[in-house]
Symmetry: C2
């Protein structure tokens, strides 16, 4: 990126416009620096509500805002749609996929994480995870198409497979997905199909751990499990996935035939540690010190899901939005301190609480000093999520949508998009109609 003339203003380059990157950029809004924000997407995504897109309750634009719009009043930032592919720390340059190079005085790496299939990368074709808008609409398409095909499928076994939804992973994402699919399959569509009834669908949640939501206290895990079971989800704890394919999964020694498999089990960090040639943990996160520097390099900060930063209990901090936001902001404040010749402070994470929702009007909330479940927890969950949505318009629309869906059980975004028709032909070929059953003559 060419500098305009000789410049004495220091440049901060931020990679990634997720929670961490955006918090860093915003914290620099009054600093006398030039900020360059690089992201491979044009939008900031509110990932915690992505499962609502996957289950047709919200539209993509409800939970994603163009990065430029979010930052339009911050004049010291330049947003670039491009992708980092390498970092030269000696030359202080970021290499981009377009072939460009961007020099930096300080660098904040906030490039996030993606799914991990624990070495079984070929599983991603059959059991997609949910990290991007495209992931979410692909899952939405798969779930809705399964219901459509089941409506006209007359072979019992094939129909059961179409109506079996398996969610893999017992963390917040898995719990939220399973609850939302149960609602979609059991309630929202109940009056709209002629052949399938709400009781036809089977939702199975496979959890490797002995209990759901391991980050929560035992009593809230139990509550979540009870709530899900009451909603018709078959929760299977301590159950490892051994293998999976096109329309089946083997777990706990049993083969389950299921057309829809959804992965919510593991994450791995972006390639930041490799770019930095820095040491990384098993999930690919770069080890950082208490100032968020990798290898003590005071020009570079790594924040959020792509950083391995230990908390006071010597365990790595979890990959959640509050950690990323606080780290991004801390990196920005540290840079401002260095510019002013002041001392940096070490990063300290302030934990405010854990939230997870289990479908309509159920949630669990753990503030440490307060543990809640049920409708009150759900109201807190809704308020917090709508409040944190990045820009005001989205906040209003999502609030209206959530309220409307609550009142009507409606899921308005039930669109099967992306070449629906060929898919029908393809999937019909995989699940051909039984012979002689569908040939009809009129009167």
């Amino acid at each position: 990126m060419r500098r305009q003339g000789p410049s004495s203003i220091p440049r901060v380059v931020v990679i990634g416009a997720g929670f961490g990157g955006l918090a860093a950029v915003r914290a620099l809004r009054r600093a006398d620096v030039e900020v360059i924000l690089i992201d491979k997407r044009n939008h900031h995504l509110f990932q915690p509500l992505l499962y609502q897109v996957a289950t047709a309750a919200l539209s993509p634009a409800d939970i994603a805002a163009p990065i430029r719009t979010v930052l339009r009043r911050q004049s010291n930032v330049r947003v670039i749609l491009d992708e980092a592919v390498g970092i030269d720390r000696h030359e202080r340059v970021v290499h981009l996929v377009s072939g460009r190079e961007v020099g930096y005085d300080w660098l904040i790496v906030a490039s996030g994480a993606t799914h991990s299939y624990f070495g079984q990368d070929h599983w991603d074709r059959h059991a997609p995870g949910i990290k991007s808008i495209e992931d979410a609409t692909a899952v939405r398409r798969k779930v809705l198409l399964a219901l459509e095909l089941a409506e006209t499928e007359e072979d019992r076994q094939r129909r059961d497979a179409l109506l079996t939804f398996v969610v893999i992973g017992g963390g917040p994402t898995g719990v939220e997905m399973a609850g939302a699919i149960a609602e979609l399959a059991h309630r929202s569509v109940s009056s709209e199909f002629r052949s399938i009834t709400p009781n036809c669908s089977k939702i199975i949640l496979l959890n490797l751990a002995p209990r759901l939501l391991e980050g929560f206290p035992q009593q809230l895990s139990d509550a979540a499990c009870r709530d899900l079971t009451r909603m018709g989800v078959d929760v299977r704890n301590s159950t490892a996935v051994e293998d999976l394919g096109e329309d089946w999964v083997v777990a706990g020694g049993e083969q389950i035939r299921a057309h829809t498999l959804i992965w919510a089990a593991g994450v791995k960090a972006s390639d930041a540690a490799r770019w930095l040639e820095s040491s990384e943990d098993r999930s690919g996160r770069a080890f950082v010190d208490q100032f968020l520097h990798p290898d003590g390099d005071s020009r570079v900060f790594v924040v959020g899901d792509t950083a391995h930063c230990t908390g006071p209990d010597h365990r790595p901090l979890p990959g959640i939005a509050p950690v990323a936001k606080q780290q991004g902001r801390h990196a920005a404040l540290s840079i401002m301190a260095m510019i002013r010749g002041r001392t940096m402070r070490p990063f300290r994470y302030r934990h405010y609480g854990n939230l997870a929702t289990i479908g309509r009007s159920h949630a669990v909330v753990d503030f440490g000093w307060l543990r809640l479940r049920g409708i009150v927890a759900w109201l807190i969950w809704s308020t917090v999520h709508v409040f944190f949505l990045t820009n005001f318009r989205n906040r209003l629309i999502v609030g209206l949508n959530l309220a409307w869906n609550y009142l009507t059980f409606a899921r308005h975004a039930r669109l099967i998009t992306g070449e629906a028709a060929p898919a029908v032909a393809t999937i019909r070929a995989e699940f051909p109609a039984s012979k002689g059953e569908d040939h009809v003559r009129a009167l």
Copy 2:
């Protein structure tokens, strides 16, 4: 489709859940018939507002409703996601792409239309039309990506090509697209980019006819042309497109370099005439008599964009929603009359008026007895469109969105989705950065 036991209830099969098909199904809601509605999509699409999705003002789910939801209270209809590929009129059977067959007593064909490139089918790769949700999001992606790439492009010529948007076709769709792109490029994004300014963009409307909106009176055509020109659109009437490619178009003897070309020029009917082995006009529409039957076959009705039905002036009726709706309803009423042994009436189209909008707060309205333009016309246009949206929830949200966009110039759905990152690399490869310009060293 298997019948359950011996049935004396006549079966009406409807192909297509657009305006025509849906109107037919609804008119049969109290009839003692079994209705089977076949569509290759799971959603009914409000096509008149599709250009608003293409220009990021509305989300797909705002203008599309699941067919099952629209018809959930009508118990005599069964919705099937499948695609017609043939009709056997002798056996009275519809063949579907899945290999199934559906027998009928009466058949209503309402399978719509798609783009026509007048024999230059390879143009569709470079100049996409807008008929489906996928078309609209692809155009949205292309337009937004062009702005993003222009922001960092330092070569003047390439930058100008990225910021040139050519709309081909001077009918309502072309006029609406050109107006909406002018707004997006000139106003909505003005404060969000650092390198490109509102005046950088060039919007060109190529119109084969001597004036815009040929279906309207001359004075309204002139008004539309003036409004568009004032919005910064370069309107070129009587200009034929001679050839086009990846990032250029030749029109009126001049070559224009433009990264974004949008096709709004011609339509051709679905394959219904071929399925029916019926005679068709130049656009592929099946000729129908005054009762909407092809070849006088009283078991079959063809309605909407796929029918060639002449009006009182002996010219074919236009491919617009009111014609399709009235014909769909007429076919349904004719079937009910036949069942009751009454005489069918010939179809008569009642024309209520023409509407077209030209961006924020401009529109033209022609009721015959009343011709309007400007803000009053725009208010009528908005009211009519929001009112006709199929289900109530969409009506509310679209109304709110239109009002919000009007007040703020915002275009909230500005998401580049569908593998954005690889696209950056690809398009960067097509438009490589100029040598030596982008290599920077930090201080």
